[in-house]
């Protein structure tokens, strides 16, 4: 499987930038066995993308599925009427995905059906999706989303994207920083911005149209906003001191950030319509790394006001601050899940930096990762997985772990140090 995946990514991605290839390191104990049959296609030359293989890889990466290898398949039905349930029962497949594509007027039209092998019935009947030749991967991710949602009951996040920073740093050479955008599976990476000065803290607007990040291009840190469709950029801040950690509010109207213009790192919000800055915290300690609560009424942030970095929450209406983390001596860069139940963070235990998740109801903290130097957790919009940055083989890489810690995979880069992932929202 891994070989197939590697081959797939090598073959079909543009060679301009390093790709992030997937290495699955851990899945759930009893994954659902699904057979994704190669897509039927009557064209004279093969499809530019192996759509079924992309679907299969998506489902496997989620940790919830164990796709049947093609080499084990007894038949390759492409239409519902060609399906013989006993072929699939024989290899223990619980579900079966059959699909076919045709090309009309430069577009690909795909039909797909999903069967419950044991119940011998269709669970998705005549699903349809179409797109341009450049959208074959999108077609695959769309099918993955539908299958995943039908079988798990959780909305699929395979059609989402991820922002990250790739850095090239050598002791003898000038630094090179790249802000990158890729599909959630690491494919189709593209360059958004390149600089010889640091780039960091990329983040998405809730509608997925704008991004914000910190750039040192003016020789000092400044927060920029950039439209993904037009590439148009705007510098939002130019204060003395820190200008960092931008975070869009859930309604997209405000940007929380850290500024030290008054001598001390404090949390501020910027109203993106009126351009008014409002100071949120007021403490002589470090206050930074704001992140909005799901309801938009509060901001969680890192502060060392108790002597060590811990995560606090401020309620914007009242200004009331409460401490959220008590387990350990270093908890930082918190992110609250969309359902408001879980806080993920960088957590230090015995000198090792892990990603941890805290149940906000019970206060119980659980370490999710076994790697070291972990940072920058970012939760998928469906809340199933999170991406984070770590080091592997002496390089910065991205890795993923499910919020129940059952599934783990790595996205190593062949080139620079990859860091600071930001998982996009749903685009529709």
């Amino acid at each position: 499987m891994r070989k197939l995946l590697a081959l797939l990514f090598c073959c079909f991605v543009s060679p301009a930038f390093a790709q992030l290839t997937i290495e699955i390191t851990q899945g759930v104990d009893n994954p659902t066995r699904i057979a994704v049959v190669p897509m039927g296609w009557g064209g004279s030359s093969p499809l530019p993308e192996d759509v079924s293989e992309i679907v299969s890889a998506d489902l496997q990466r989620s940790g919830q599925f164990d796709p049947v290898p093609r080499t084990s398949m007894l038949s390759f039905p492409t239409k519902p009427e060609d399906v013989f349930y006993r072929d699939w029962r024989a290899m223990g497949a619980e579900y079966l995905l059959v699909s076919s594509a045709e090309q009309r007027g430069g577009r690909y039209f795909v039909r797909y059906d999903v069967f419950d092998v044991l119940a011998q019935r269709k669970v998705i009947s005549a699903g349809k999706v179409d797109g341009s030749p450049e959208q074959l991967r999108d077609i695959a991710h769309h099918i993955s989303d539908k299958v995943y949602e039908k079988i798990t009951g959780i909305r699929g996040a395979f059609s989402t994207q991820v922002l990250y920073v790739e850095a090239f740093q050598h002791e003898q050479k000038a630094d090179n920083f790249r802000l990158m955008l890729a599909d959630a599976d690491g494919a189709r990476s593209r360059l958004l911005l390149e600089s010889d000065q640091p780039l960091l803290s990329p983040t998405w607007s809730p509608d997925g149209r704008e991004i914000a990040y910190v750039s040192f291009e003016t020789t000092r840190p400044a927060i920029f906003m950039q439209n993904l469709a037009t590439g148009q950029r705007e510098q939002l801040t130019n204060f003395t001191g820190l200008n960092g950690a931008p975070a869009f509010s859930p309604d997209g109207d405000k940007l929380a950030m850290v500024l030290s213009k008054d001598g001390n790192p404090e949390i501020y919000t910027l109203d993106l319509r009126t351009r008014q800055f409002t100071r949120v915290t007021n403490h002589y300690a470090i206050d930074t790394e704001p992140s909005w609560t799901a309801d938009g009424e509060g901001v969680v942030f890192t502060s060392n006001r108790g002597g060590k970095p811990q995560i606090y929450k401020v309620t914007l209406a009242s200004g009331r601050v409460e401490r959220l983390t008590f387990d350990g001596e270093y908890n930082a860069r918190g992110r609250v899940s969309k359902d408001g139940k879980t806080l993920v963070m960088v957590h230090q235990r015995q000198g090792v930096f892990h990603i941890a998740a805290q149940d906000l109801t019970t206060g119980t903290l659980r370490i999710l990762t076994e790697t070291n130097l972990d940072e920058s957790p970012t939760i998928a919009p469906n809340g199933a997985m999170l991406l984070y940055a770590t080091r592997f083989g002496g390089k910065g890489i991205l890795a993923a772990v499910s919020l129940d810690a059952g599934t783990k995979y790595r996205l190593p880069s062949k080139q620079g140090d990859v860091r600071e992932p930001a998982w996009s929202p749903f685009f529709n």
């Binding site: 740093q169 050598h170 002791e171 630094d175 640091p198 960091l200 803290s201 040192f216 020789t219 000092r220 840190p221 001191g241 820190l242 960092g244 950690a245 850290v258 030290s260 790192p265 470090i286 930074t288 790394e289 890192t302 060392n304 002597g307 060590k308 970095p309 001596e329 270093y330 930082a332 860069r333 960088v346 230090q348 015995q350 000198g351 090792v352 930096f353 130097l373 940072e375 920058s376 080091r391 002496g394 860091r419 600071e420």
Partner: protein, 170 residues
């Protein structure tokens, strides 16, 4: 001119007050720093022989001064070795009226934006010390690069201790 002279006189008074008041509080914070390192499973003793050795040059005004000040993990408190080095720098900065850029840095551990704030704290600690020594605040520019510009690449205390620093550039 008169006001400047008065200001310098005042800042000298502050320096004296600071130095007198320092000894007890600083000992305490340095202990805290050491304790933090031990609890975090981090090797302490990063007071750095390099900085100590270079501080010997303070008597000779023309000797090259070490331009890097080192810190303990998650700390922005000046270590004793840094103080003597900074005294030598402050003498030169006072006499030359040159402006200096103070670049704060952190090691790679922990989160990036917290490290950005920590780097600024460290550069501010150096700036405040120099100002107390009579260096004009307007001649000192502070910038933090957090963990984005490590001096030593690689993971491990030997790299980390070199990266927790403020670089004085003038």
């Amino acid at each position: 001119m008169i006001t400047k002279a008065m200001k310098q006189g005042l800042s000298f008074a502050f320096v004296m007050a600071f130095l007198v008041g320092c000894s007890s509080t600083d000992t305490k914070t340095d202990e805290d720093a050491a304790g933090a390192g031990a609890n975090g499973g981090v090797t302490t003793g990063t007071a750095d022989g390099g900085a100590l050795g270079s501080s010997n040059g303070m008597d000779d005004g023309m000797e090259e001064l070490d331009k890097v000040i080192y810190f303990d993990f998650d700390q922005a408190v000046l270590l004793p070795a840094a103080r003597s080095l900074l005294l030598a720098h402050s003498e030169r900065l006072r006499n030359s009226d040159a402006s200096a850029r103070l670049e704060g840095h952190a090691d790679e551990r922990g989160s990036r934006e917290y490290n950005m704030a920590l780097g600024e704290r460290r550069a501010n600690a150096v700036r405040d010390f120099l100002v107390l020594q009579g260096v004009s605040r307007s001649n000192l520019e502070v910038i933090s690069y957090g963990e984005e510009r490590p001096l030593a690449l690689g993971s491990g205390e030997s790299s980390w201790s070199k990266n927790r620093r403020v670089e004085i550039d003038y």
